[in-house]
């Protein structure tokens, strides 16, 4: 039987952290872009657009991320597209993140006083200009802290992508455990690595909350 040193375990886990970070970034950036589109749709006067976004948000907030990952993985395959764990995980996490960010940001837009809209309107700014130059800059300031805080949820959420065979930190931990038979040590290291990623971000979010 091969003996694994602690360094073997740590090195492989550290390599796997890359994919957790990569998946988090994809989810966060993709989710941010889609979330922004949803946000704008949500605050237009179109009833259809608003209802669609409300339903979208309810759907993704009301089902487990695990199910969304399964559905993305097997659903995309059903469409006849040859899918990989990478694509399914990226799609599922992007949609999930966008729903939450759209909802967080809508709260921030609602927090901007109504008088700001009215002042911008009475200066003849059109809807896009009202948003871009008056409302969103103020909403963004309110949104920074909760958005950074949500990033922590996304990072931890990527662990679920392991169930569809995406090799990130958690999946790597499981594979190493199967080879080394030292689950407590391996999962302990996995947990510590998640903590090392998330804790500084939480700390930063809390500091932003105080200063902004």
């Amino acid at each position: 039987m091969v003996d694994f040193t602690f360094w073997d375990i740590a090195r492989n886990l550290l390599l796997a952290v890359r994919w957790t970070i990569a998946l988090s970034l994809i989810a966060f950036i993709g989710g941010g872009v889609v979330g922004l589109v949803l946000l704008v749709a949500r605050i237009t006067k179109s009833h259809a657009a608003r209802r669609f976004v409300a339903a979208y948000v309810q759907l993704f907030q009301g089902t487990p991320l695990l199910m969304q990952l399964f559905l993305a993985y097997f659903g995309i395959a059903l469409l006849g597209v040859n899918t990989s764990p990478w694509v399914s995980a990226a799609v599922a996490l992007t949609l999930y993140t966008s729903a939450f960010l759209a909802e967080i940001w809508r709260g921030c837009v609602d927090a901007v006083p109504k008088g700001q809209w009215e002042a911008a309107q009475s200066l003849a700014l059109n809807f896009g200009e009202q948003l871009r130059y008056v409302i969103l800059p103020q909403a963004a300031r309110i949104a920074i802290a909760p958005t950074v805080g949500f990033l922590v949820q996304v990072i931890k959420g990527t662990a679920l992508a392991s169930v569809i065979g995406f090799v990130e930190l958690t999946k790597a931990g499981a594979m190493i455990t199967n080879a080394t038979f030292r689950p407590f040590l391996v999962y302990g290291c996995v947990a510590l690595l998640y903590f090392a990623l998330c804790f500084p971000i939480s700390l930063y979010a809390r500091r932003l909350e105080r200063t902004l």
Partner: protein, 245 residues
């Protein structure tokens, strides 16, 4: 009489089942200064907000400078709002922009004027309201009276034909009211068409050409200030005026 700059006919407005404007007919000539008085809930602020489309109305017509207000036409609304400036009770300056940028924003975006042009315009207007040195200040560094004067400069930057003032001194400490009213008075002297909802009766009497007393969603009494304040015709206006003393 030349064509009226504002022409309102049979305007009716409801919030749900509550009708707050019950048929308003009003014509305003260019350069006229009009004070609108009345109890709270009489519809005077709503009427003002209808004129620049912040409120929609169900019946009647409203035109500014010959342009009809069409709510569901963004281009028409943008055109109309360039002719109508508004100043609010709560100032509503943009807190994330400097005083200068507050004034420059709309001309830059809507009139596509160059940065140099709008900056020069903003400096001129801030000087006019006595705040030339505040160009680079942030709104929250100013007193309420100063903020309201910036708001006036911001509205003037669009060179509106009409200026709507919605209780613009009601949120101010008493000692700051005067500085804002002096600016409004100077605008009146310069021939700006003004419609103001106000609780400052002395100011209304001194500055306005015509006073409108609104009661329960209607223009209840209307006339020149001396007549309206000196010899009120209706019981409601008499009661309203005596309640102020």
């Amino acid at each position: 009489m030349t064509n009226p700059i504002i022409e309102i006919q049979g305007l009716r407005k409801s919030f749900g089942t509550n009708e707050v404007l019950k048929g308003i007919d009003l014509q305003v000539r260019s350069g006229e200064v009009i004070a609108i008085i009345g109890k709270s809930g009489s519809g005077k602020s709503t009427l003002l907000r209808c004129i620049n489309g912040l409120e929609t109305f169900q019946h009647g017509s409203l035109a500014v400078d010959g342009k009809h207000l069409v709510h569901d036409n963004p281009a028409a609304m943008r055109e109309l709002r360039q002719h109508v400036g508004m100043i609010f009770q709560s100032f509503n300056l943009f807190p994330h922009l400097t005083v200068g940028r507050n004034v420059m924003l709309a001309p830059t975006l809507v009139k596509k004027a160059s940065a140099d042009e709008t900056a020069a315009l903003a400096r001129k207007l801030l000087e006019r309201v006595g705040l030339a040195e505040k160009f680079d200040a942030m709104p929250d560094q100013l007193s309420g009276g100063q903020q309201q004067r910036v708001a006036i400069a911001r509205a003037l930057a669009m060179q509106p034909a009409v200026l709507l003032c919605d209780e613009i001194t009601s949120a101010l400490d008493p000692e700051l009211v005067g500085e804002v009213l002096r600016v409004v008075e100077s605008l009146a002297h310069d021939g700006m068409t003004l419609l103001m909802v106000t609780h400052e009766m002395n100011f209304a009497r001194k500055v306005s050409d015509r006073v409108i007393f609104m009661h329960q969603g209607r223009v209840h009494e209307m006339g020149d200030p001396e007549q309206l304040f000196g010899a009120p015709q209706t019981a409601e206006l008499k009661q309203f005026l005596s309640s102020l003393d």
